[in-house]
Symmetry: C2
Subunit: 340 residues, 2 copies
DNA sequence: ACGCAATCAGACAGCGCTGTCAAGAATGAA
DNA sequence: TTCATTCTTGACAGCGCTGTCTGATTGCGT
């Protein structure tokens, strides 16, 4: 156990005051270059590392960023964490992860203590927690800045980052239409998830813009789960009268569609084209591989962390900062020309 | 922003000293029941929450547990986090996640500062980081206790939790044999991952115990990835002479096998049985659903956290504590009777 | 009733750092 | 040269809590 070496040791070693060492460590101005070099040499020589608890107790920063999530897909969570961490590391911040059960009755009692004890410098919220009124209220009451990733509404309540779900769905639909499909089924996402509506709108708009009508029985309600996609697909593909393509609001559901197609011996993409959304790892793990939309998840989380680290603020009355990142259509083998 | 209320306020409100409040908060003995109640009432009334930085600076605990990982599957990571958090919350601890790039040349420089600044109370290590000599050495030098999940070797170097990979593979193989299969292909896992060898051994042992011989061309090297499973399956299933069942060392590779089977129009399980290992979310997201082994990942992480929270220690010379949890064979539709 | 041990409560000194303020050194303008 | 500025540094007081030690109560045996 390396006996902890303190700022004091560095000060002694470099012949300056403890406060000057602190200044160097925090990149404060007004330190002579020569002095700074001496201090940095001592820091390196002693392998000195500031104690985060002491820093945050004495100062105003905690060097901690939180990530709240309520079990969306594991791949999503992991990407968010990686994106946020990458940015935090550069600044010496660390990530606290907090799974939130947004259906819990005592949600308030769960997170309020946590916010108060940790006093994090900021929190990144993912769907669906990012739209949960109790969570947002608690954050605001405790004065903890937060950035939401792909919030479903109340865009002017906080800073946020996201992507244009509507446009992405629009373009994917156009891709299908361009392939010759005119009878396309759509599976909606979970109604609590903000992106669901945007994706549905994008689909409808693309159809309308191409002069295509959407029969109401071609739109099914799903819940973002494999099972819900599977069941929706059974309804969509059960009879003789079936669409030539199905666009599911996320990959898990698209995978459910593929499973049904497989079971019904409908060849993908010859008989049925299938498109998903998210580009989860699972998309590459089916055969044929899934055409989908790649969300810049890591980048969104990185941008969120960035806002937090730079101190998101905005004028009362102005719209809070918000960043829209680019998505990417990933065309793989599950979509093909419509059978004629 | 709720103006921070301190232990001082609670002391005043309940008419006791600040130290007594501290005693109540830390469940220390020698506090009269009556006094404790008064203090607790004040705590509740004021919504007081101790400041974690102050606590860890003054005391010896940091209330922080770390989780190190180097991108195994997202599902695995998430399960580990959930399992660890559940246990940590009960004790008021929080989780710091740190992705580690174990191939980085400056690994030491990456983690040493982190260990020194955070002074975590313990760290949970997952494969493959749990077998990385530099990481282990750094942890030991800094005196940070750690528990490894499914380590690949050096079992007496630290406390660990795991499951009996060898036995699980043995039983899965027996399941296949019981179905009438005698010509079974096996895809090994990543050589750096400790469990790979155990699973291979279990497979070989079960075959030998049943008087079956394994032709060397029936055992392929894989790397736990979908792609490696896919390629191994192509070799295994490419010719006329093919096994009637394939046991892949993890689900991702098994999914690769299924994709190849699909492509070759080999019906699963009629013509080919496929078994995986891990029970990742993907296992349920294929059709037919995958027969696999369920690892108690959350439970293992919970047990690891538990050891850390209770202070893992062992006598010099004794074997460190180690906990083996139960696995479970999950028989789904991808395995069936051997074609006769 | 008395004495001794066990139980309970408080005073006090930091933990390792940063914020504030004030003093000394260096610079520039007059 | 002198005085006003700016730059550079250090002394000092905590941040909010816990560990230690000491003093005040209580219980109980005789």
């Amino acid at each position: 156990m390396s006996s902890k070496i303190t700022i004091h040791d560095v000060a002694r070693q470099s012949g300056v005051s403890i406060k000057t060492v602190s200044r160097v460590l925090n990149r404060e101005p007004n330190v002579k270059a020569d002095t700074r070099d001496r201090v940095q040499a001592a820091v390196a020589a002693l392998h000195y590392r500031p104690n985060i608890s002491a820093r945050s107790l004495a100062g105003s920063k905690a060097y901690l960023i939180g990530v709240f999530f309520d079990n969306p897909s594991p791949g999503y969570i992991t990407d968010v964490q990686l994106g946020a961490i990458a940015r935090c590391r550069e600044e010496g911040y660390h990530l606290i992860v907090e799974p939130i059960d947004s259906t819990a009755a005592d949600l308030e009692a769960q997170i309020a203590p946590m916010l108060a004890t940790l006093r994090m410098d900021g929190v990144i919220l993912t769907a669906p927690v990012c739209d949960h009124p109790v969570v947002l209220a608690a954050l605001e009451r405790e004065g903890v800045p937060y950035v939401r990733i792909s919030p479903g509404g109340e865009l002017d309540r906080s800073a946020s980052v996201g992507m244009d779900d509507r446009l992405a769905a629009y373009e994917m639909t156009k891709h299908l239409i361009g392939l010759g499909h005119s009878d396309i089924g759509f599976i909606m996402g979970h109604p609590d998830h903000g992106a669901s509506r945007a994706r549905h709108q994008g689909f409808m708009a693309a159809m309308a813009d191409s002069g295509l009508t959407v029969r109401s029985e071609r739109v099914e309600q799903g819940y973002f789960s494999f099972r819900s996609g599977f069941e929706a697909a059974e309804r969509l593909l059960g009879g003789e009268d079936r669409p030539t393509a199905i666009f599911a609001s996320n990959d898990d559901m698209a995978l459910g569609v593929m499973a049904v197609a497989n079971r019904l011996r409908l060849n993908v993409p010859e008989t049925l084209s299938v498109a998903g959304f998210d580009d989860t790892p699972g998309a590459k793990v089916v055969w044929p591989q899934l055409t989908t939309v790649r969300q810049p998840i890591s980048a969104m989380a990185g941008a969120a962390a960035d806002m937090l680290l730079n101190g998101v603020t905005w004028e009362e009355g102005d719209a809070p900062p918000s960043k829209l990142l680019d998505f990417e259509l990933v065309i793989r083998e599950s979509t093909g020309p419509a059978a004629t």
